[in-house]
Symmetry: C2
Subunit: 276 residues, 2 copies
Amino acid sequence: MLYLIGLGLGDKTDITIKGLELIKKSKRVYLESYTSIYCQDDRNDLETFYGCEIIPADREFVELNSDEILLNADNEDVAFLVVGDPLGATTHADLILRAKEKRIPYRLVHNASIINACGCCGLQLYNFGEVVSIPLWTETWRPTSFVDKINSNLKRGLHTLCLLDIKVKEQSIEAMMKGRKEYEPPRFMTINIAAKQLLDSLKELQCNQDDLQENNLLLTEETLCVALARVGSEKQLIRKSSLKNLLEIDMGPPLHSLIIVGRLHHIESEMLKLFD
Amino acid sequence: MLYLIGLGLGDKTDITIKGLELIKKSKRVYLESYTSIYCQDDRNDLETFYGCEIIPADREFVELNSDEILLNADNEDVAFLVVGDPLGATTHADLILRAKEKRIPYRLVHNASIINACGCCGLQLYNFGEVVSIPLWTETWRPTSFVDKINSNLKRGLHTLCLLDIKVKEQSIEAMMKGRKEYEPPRFMTINIAAKQLLDSLKELQCNQDDLQENNLLLTEETLCVALARVGSEKQLIRKSSLKNLLEIDMGPPLHSLIIVGRLHHIESEMLKLFD
């Protein structure tokens, strides 16, 4: 059996009893390390806590070595651990499909993900629209499509959870061209970078006034935002601020997430005051 | 300290290690029983598993007796347990605000909720729009506003998670008028009732053709849906069907949830085939 087990968001004690029991009876345990990370515990801490060896699985490993992960999983138990909930990222749907091809049964063990835990700031999950991913811009690649989605949500009065990019074990273009297995240091998008990209996108969209739809006017530098860092951990931090002022805010170490606030209901306003 | 602890969705082993440790050190433990339920384990099972007494807390209790729940919580630990994630329902924001008034510190222990666990059907959480609640209609109260929200999502190609109504310990109108503390048996909206209300709403909206906006044409009786039952438990069931055919589907005991499918991406189509 292939177990895809969510680890939750904070630290090693955020695993469920069910998840821990399944890890203990698994023959091999993999830890996916490229869609999210714990902010406190690393692989060594987890090995001690679970009492077993953990095989790190980066994107390349999962994409190229899924046969190895699934080896004998029709006869023995294999655990694939994911920080958050196991089905937040498309890649793991891929692993399930490969298991199915090989007639290997699978089971999901759910846990909290930022998609629901972002409710910790007091905004109601019922009032969120489509989730948005903000990718780290490069010198030559500066997409702004996330602004359209945020505006569509704002038009309906809905909040937007923005997931900020994570780059773990990415090859530099130079290394790729030279065919070298050299990787850049991990990068986690901060709230500041996210705010900068959003503000730059707004400027760019305002330059193309002719293309401007009614939609595009909703997000402004004054829009209320909630900055979240290390949600679910003891070092969690929640701050509210205008988009503009997020440029200067210091949210500390990763992971950061950002909420663009839509229409506030009374109880949401009261809850947000907790973070004044 | 007031701990609001999510229990996850399936059974007693879906609690996190962190949550269980905090329950064990709490002086009093309440179980909220009106926004969601476990499909397998009841309060007795939980008492045995946690090794402590659990005080049931229905809506009336939480709304009227929050002082009792918070009693001495500035000096001792009190746990308030919620199936799913602790901040899915507004009522618990209320409890936090009351704690804050009394200068009682609180802490959230997150867990899976249907909001993220619905990804088990293979639809990507990134492709969901606003969540919709479908209330049980009465003879005189038949709101159809959920159709507007579903249509707004469909217009953008997004899926809609529909949360189906739960009525636990509700007074009948007769009992209310007589001032009697008599309650109706618990009712959980099935997929069949949800489909019936959606189809009836469509008929009603089509009768008012003049008010019809472009939006209102998107949801039809042929729209693809995914029916979910008992998500996260061993008795989980996932079926796909047109809205029309949901009228006849048998999803078994509660809880049920419904997804109205928007634009399918390739990997989502592949994943949905798992449930053919």
